[in-house]
């Protein structure tokens, strides 16, 4: 049966059942197409508090929906579905399912901060976008992006030794992202390194892979950093009602 103005209905809300009987009446097939309700039946008051508890999200409750952020947005100019104003509203009213529809583009914010400077209420929309991406990830709605894996590997090495060692970063990154260590471009890179690099530097690099040099007297700095990172992470997880165990 044709549906008038079908473009107003989301495809996933149009439901046809192969075999269905309701109150003794056969409603199978496309003659009995159902349209799922779009009605918002409740507000979830927790989501705003959760996003507001993450760094950057503190001022989300100031928003009055003027749209200055979206109007000034770099990403919105490329992708009209990227709409910070709308997401801020969904977070504030707790419309979670609506919000999750856009989970794969929310993290695309490029942090240009044009919204930050156009917002009349100082909501700090760029911070909200960061907090929201973080929220999606902590809640398990979005997987870690490759860049997040890289950041974590990089940071973990700095935290433990005060230094990074490129070879280890690459190995760790490959491991986290499930990539094989032997890759054509990497083999070629290593070959050329061996051919052109001074022997002494090569030896230093090779050695570093086994002895893991540390910054002198790193211990106290490491302890302080680790304490802070764990504390922040625990606070974030607690605000979201998650158990204490974090990644770091």
């Amino acid at each position: 049966m044709p549906i008038h103005e079908q473009n107003l209905i989301r495809p996933e809300n149009i439901i046809t059942n192969e075999e269905l009987e309701i109150d003794g009446i056969d409603v199978s097939g496309h003659w009995s197409t159902f349209i799922e309700s779009r009605v918002v039946t409740d507000y979830n008051e927790d989501i705003e508090d959760e996003v507001a508890a993450l760094p950057g999200g503190e001022y989300i409750n100031r928003c009055w929906q003027c749209g200055s952020c979206t109007n000034s947005c770099t990403v919105n100019a490329v992708n009209p579905d990227f709409n910070p104003r709308f997401w801020i509203y969904l977070v504030r009213m707790g419309m979670e399912s609506e919000l999750l529809r856009d989970k794969d583009i929310i993290w695309q914010c490029v942090s240009c901060n044009k919204c930050t400077y156009s917002c009349p209420r100082d909501v700090n929309p760029e911070g909200v976008m960061k907090a929201l991406s973080h929220w999606l990830e902590l809640k398990g709605h979005t997987p870690k992006s490759p860049s997040m894996h890289f950041d974590e590997e990089f940071a973990d090495q700095v935290f433990s030794t005060g230094k990074i060692e490129e070879g280890r970063v690459i190995r760790g990154f490959f491991q986290r992202t499930g990539q094989p260590l032997i890759q054509d471009w990497l083999v070629e890179l290593v070959k050329r390194l061996i051919r052109h690099m001074p022997v002494k530097l090569l030896m230093t690099m090779g050695l570093a892979n086994f002895v893991r040099p540390r910054t002198r007297d790193w211990g106290r700095a490491q302890a302080a950093i680790e304490e802070y990172v764990l504390e922040r992470d625990a606070a974030n997880r607690k605000a979201l009602g998650l158990d204490a165990a974090g990644d770091h």
Binding site: V39, V40, T41, Y43, N61, W64, Y89, R92, M93, M95
Partner: protein, 349 residues
């Protein structure tokens, strides 16, 4: 000795006019139809006033006692004016107890009437006990009882305030903005959040008109410090699922219908013209404007004028008005009345 000036109505405007005349040494007769002075803030039991935050019983109550204690103000409660004859400097007013008083001028401070929410039956007032008006919430707060659901006395967990109830609505012949309800509602929302921190307050609006300096003090502050939520939706109907109230409408920002459960729904009721305005207009021979408020004549050339010379007007009698502006207008009206009574030269001597 000049003849006294007649003040009709003992609310903020009438009290302010009486205070001003008293300060000028001019005799006044203050006629009030109710038993006590104070007008809506006292008679309807308002809580904390905008913008001072003072309790109505202290702020307006203070005006009442100053007027009652004045030697130059003759307060007549429980009375109305039934006839008003003569001209500037020589009016004769007949009161409902058949006494007559001479007056050199009159100031109408006859105020307004709260909109009666039963005229919007789709919003549930009178049908569901937990649908109340802003005036009732003011009373809950000023009585010290606190904001509670009338049905069972519980603390609400979620409150909806509907704006523009009895305002900006051609369907019920009210084409004006009542001016104060946005600010009053944001004030009430903050009071509720303060009293019951785990109660969420939602305000459903078409436009927010917390004009002038109320913008940041009320609208912004309610969002920033008290996390009150504002939703652009004119509610279609308020029903019940037998347990809680159900508010239905369209959330215009997400273009989706909403049916949200609430414990309490508050109507931000507007300001109607005084229900007696037709009588008042005919008694004093003044014209009403098209909505039924007392018409201002000559905005730029004179002060507080009506269509009848020697009869002045101030406050919400002319249309929706704030308490502080009513007070200021009445001071202007007192000055205008003094100029008719000859009281200005008396005060100068």
């Amino acid at each position: 000795m000049t003849k006294p000036i007649l003040i009709v109505g003992g609310g903020p405007a009438g009290l302010s006019a009486a205070q001003a005349l008293s300060a000028a040494g001019q005799r006044a007769i203050l006629v009030e139809k109710e038993q006590q002075l104070g007008g809506a803030p006292i008679l309807s039991g308002y809580a904390k006033l905008v913008p001072t935050g003072e309790w109505a019983k202290d702020a307006i109550g203070g005006m009442v006692s100053r007027v009652e204690g004045s030697d130059t103000v003759d307060v007549r409660t429980n009375l109305t004016v039934t006839n008003f004859e003569g001209g500037p400097g020589n009016f004769i007013a007949k009161l409902s107890d058949d006494t007559t008083v001479d007056a050199s001028a009159a100031i109408l401070c006859t105020g307004f009437t709260h909109f009666d929410s039963v005229n919007k039956p789709e919003w549930g007032f009178g049908t569901f006990p937990d649908v109340v008006t802003t005036t009732q919430v003011e009373q809950m707060m000023s009585s010290g009882q606190g904001v509670r659901c009338p049905s069972d006395g519980r603390k609400p967990k979620r409150v909806a305030i509907l704006l523009c109830v009895g305002s900006r609505d051609r369907q019920i012949g009210r084409e004006w903005c009542s001016k104060i309800c946005c600010t009053v509602s944001s004030n009430i929302a903050m009071e509720i959040r303060e009293e019951i921190p785990d109660c969420h307050v939602y305000i459903y609006y078409m436009d927010i008109r917390t004009f002038g300096l109320y913008e940041d003090l009320y609208y912004w502050r309610s969002q920033e410090e008290f996390k009150v939520k504002y939703i652009k939706a004119r509610i279609a109907e308020v029903t019940s699922n037998g347990d809680r109230l159900i508010v239905k409408g369209e959330d215009t920002l997400v273009k989706r219908p909403i049916t949200i459960p609430f414990d309490m729904v508050v109507h931000a009721i507007g300001m109607d013209p005084n229900i007696d305005n037709i009588m008042i207009a005919s008694t004093f021979g003044v014209q009403l404007q098209k909505h039924g408020h007392i018409q201002h004549a000559d905005t730029y050339g004179g002060i507080a004028r009506t269509s009848r010379e020697g009869v002045f007007v101030a406050g919400a009698a002319t249309g929706p008005e704030t308490i502080d502006d009513s007070i200021a207008q009445a001071q202007g009206a007192a000055l205008a009345a003094l100029s008719v009574s000859g009281g200005l030269s008396v005060a100068a001597e």
